[in-house]
């Protein structure tokens, strides 16, 4: 497995954070959301990020997702210094290597599931026939065959999150960033979604970075990083969880 012991520098680590700081505002109003974060994530890992609100876990997710830039320190994605990239370069990095799943699903309203899933491919300039095929396949892999032409309003919360996951994986990303993916779902649906994400991690080798405040959901991850006051407070590896092992 890729949770193997860390090696030397540039040993093929997926993500490497060194002394990352993030400060909002200026002067006396300045607020330090991150106060020096070091972190290493390997290819194919499943990492849960936990912590009380205001601990900096959302901030670090935004940085990891290349949506934001750090105030200090370095962020290497496969050896590329993300903090040196401009807005458009970061957009291209997101387009080719990252997939996002949000708490609020964030699907386009009045747009069919298929069209929602096609969206990232549209920006990649894929031809229509390939887009349709890939989107239909992604929907099938999250168990939504037959729901392609329904709009988000016609789908349940769990189904909407499945569409969002299909949209995130349709480009075969290296990393899936999930920001409280079960936050808006009931317990049963939450477990279904987590099993889907765990399966994608296991079967496709997609690394998963997930922010959650539910220990139950963090149990699906192979590793749990806890944030307190803008710093990493603990970084533990889970024993293979019961939920992770039984279903498949």
């Amino acid at each position: 497995m890729s949770q193997a012991a860390p090696a030397g520098p540039d040993d093929g680590a997926l993500i490497r954070l060194n002394g990352i700081t993030k400060t909002y505002g200026r002067g006396t109003a300045a607020f330090a959301a991150l106060r020096g974060v070091d972190m290493r994530i390997d290819e194919g890992e499943f990492v849960a990020i936990m912590g009380p609100s205001g601990s900096g876990k959302s901030t670090v997710m935004n940085l990891l997702g290349c949506l934001d830039t750090p105030s200090g320190g370095s962020y290497q994605f496969r050896g590329v210094h993300v903090e040196r990239l401009d807005r458009n370069q970061r957009a291209l990095l997101r387009r080719h290597f990252l997939g996002f799943v949000f708490q609020g699903f964030n699907l386009l309203a009045r747009t069919s599931a298929l069209e929602n899933v096609e969206l990232p491919l549209l920006y990649r300039g894929e031809p229509a026939s390939r887009r349709h095929a890939a989107a239909a396949q992604a929907l099938a892999s999250v168990g939504l065959t037959g729901w392609e032409h329904h709009s988000p309003a016609e789908l349940s919360g769990g189904q909407q999150q499945r569409v969002a996951i299909a949209r995130a994986i349709v480009t075969a990303p290296s990393v899936l960033l999930a920001d409280e993916p079960t936050g808006n779902l009931d317990s049963k649906t939450s477990h279904e979604i987590m099993e889907l994400i765990a399966a994608l991690n296991r079967e496709r080798g997609i690394a998963v970075l997930m922010v959650t405040h539910e220990p139950e959901m963090a149990g699906y991850a192979g590793r749990v990083i806890r944030f307190v006051d803008g710093r990493v407070a603990s970084d533990q590896r889970n024993a293979p969880g019961p939920a992770d092992g039984e279903d498949g």
């Binding site: 935004n62 997702g65 949506l67 934001d68 807005r87 458009n88 957009a91 291209l92 990095l93 997101r94 387009r95 080719h96 990252l98 997939g99 996002f100 949000f102 964030n106 699907l107 386009l108 309203a109 009045r110 747009t111 069209e115 969206l119 990232p120 549209l122 920006y123 990649r124 300039g125 949209r167």
Partner: protein, 400 residues
Amino acid sequence: MLWNTLLLALRSIRRNLLRSFLTILGVVIGVAAVITMVTLGNGATKAVSDQIASLGSNLLMVRPGQRFGPGSEDAAKFKAADAEAVRVQIAAIQAVAPVSNKNVTLVYQARNWSTMVTGSNNDYFLAGNWHLAAGRTFTEAEERAGKAVCVLGATVREKLFAGQNPVGSQIRVKQFACEVIGLLQSKGQSAMGSDQDDAVIMPLRTVQRRLTGSQDVGMLMVSVREGVSIDAAKEQLTLLLRERRKIAENEEDDFRVMDTRQIAETFTSTTRILTTLLGAVAAVSLLVGGIGIMNIMLVSVTERTREIGIRLAIGALEREVLMQFLIEAVVLSSLGGVIGIALAAAASMSLSGLMQVPYLFDPFINLASFLFSAAIGVIFGYFPARRAAQLDPIEALRHE
């Protein structure tokens, strides 16, 4: 890439069909108004110039004063002798009709009708391209003696005689009885909207003696012989009239000789100015339509902030979001242009029928309006599009 962006724009227009329609309504109305105004104006111009051209290219009109049309200038009026002199002394001229007008009320039995009586001679029928439907024109004796005889237009006959043959009947004109000797063929409405058949023609002397009480002649209608240069005839006419009116060499003419082309130009320049004015007013509404597009696009950007956040998060470039919104605006406004053109075609076709002017399709104004509407999309779409493209993805995703 451009094709995909177009696809995105079309999708988002389709998703908000009603709002899209309301957005472009301003442009639709603006384009339709501009094209309809200009098309009808062109039709009216054409109708006027056709009408005047139908008078014949060999017609000259001579009026005292430098302005065309009824003027209050104090230039001396012409006399019947001027017309006589022109006819006798200039070989290039075929016919000269001195014209003097007076508004009167005509009475026949229990019916009466107010109209303008024209005093002239038989040359008037020639120069004005009139043909008789019944009866005869004036005899030389009638002209010379100023007999109470008249030739009626079709409208006057309709009003006084209700379709019966008027020839030989007596009508009352002011204090005297006048015998109807002829009836003119109908010419219909003129391009300026007046009824040409609402006419009564009497010998000049009759009108001068019994109606105006003066020897003045308001206008000379001159018909130039076939095959003679109009310009040469005009020059001779001008020389002769200057001499008769004793105008010194360094003085300006105190009369004006116009050929039909010039008369047509005078009228068409008026209609053209009106067309331009109406078109300009309509263009303002097009501009307002553009502002409407900007307004809705700005609302749309705010309303779709989350959508923009999603697009940015999944890797849309700033340029792509800009293009999406810009193309959306251009597609919307061009769509408005196309609908406006169709609407204008329908409106100007039916209105031109109603106004009795010809329908002239003007490809230039149609193309220009379309391009202008597309340009409105670019101009008024750019600002909202840039605002969308520069959104911070994190903020945008958090937007409710």
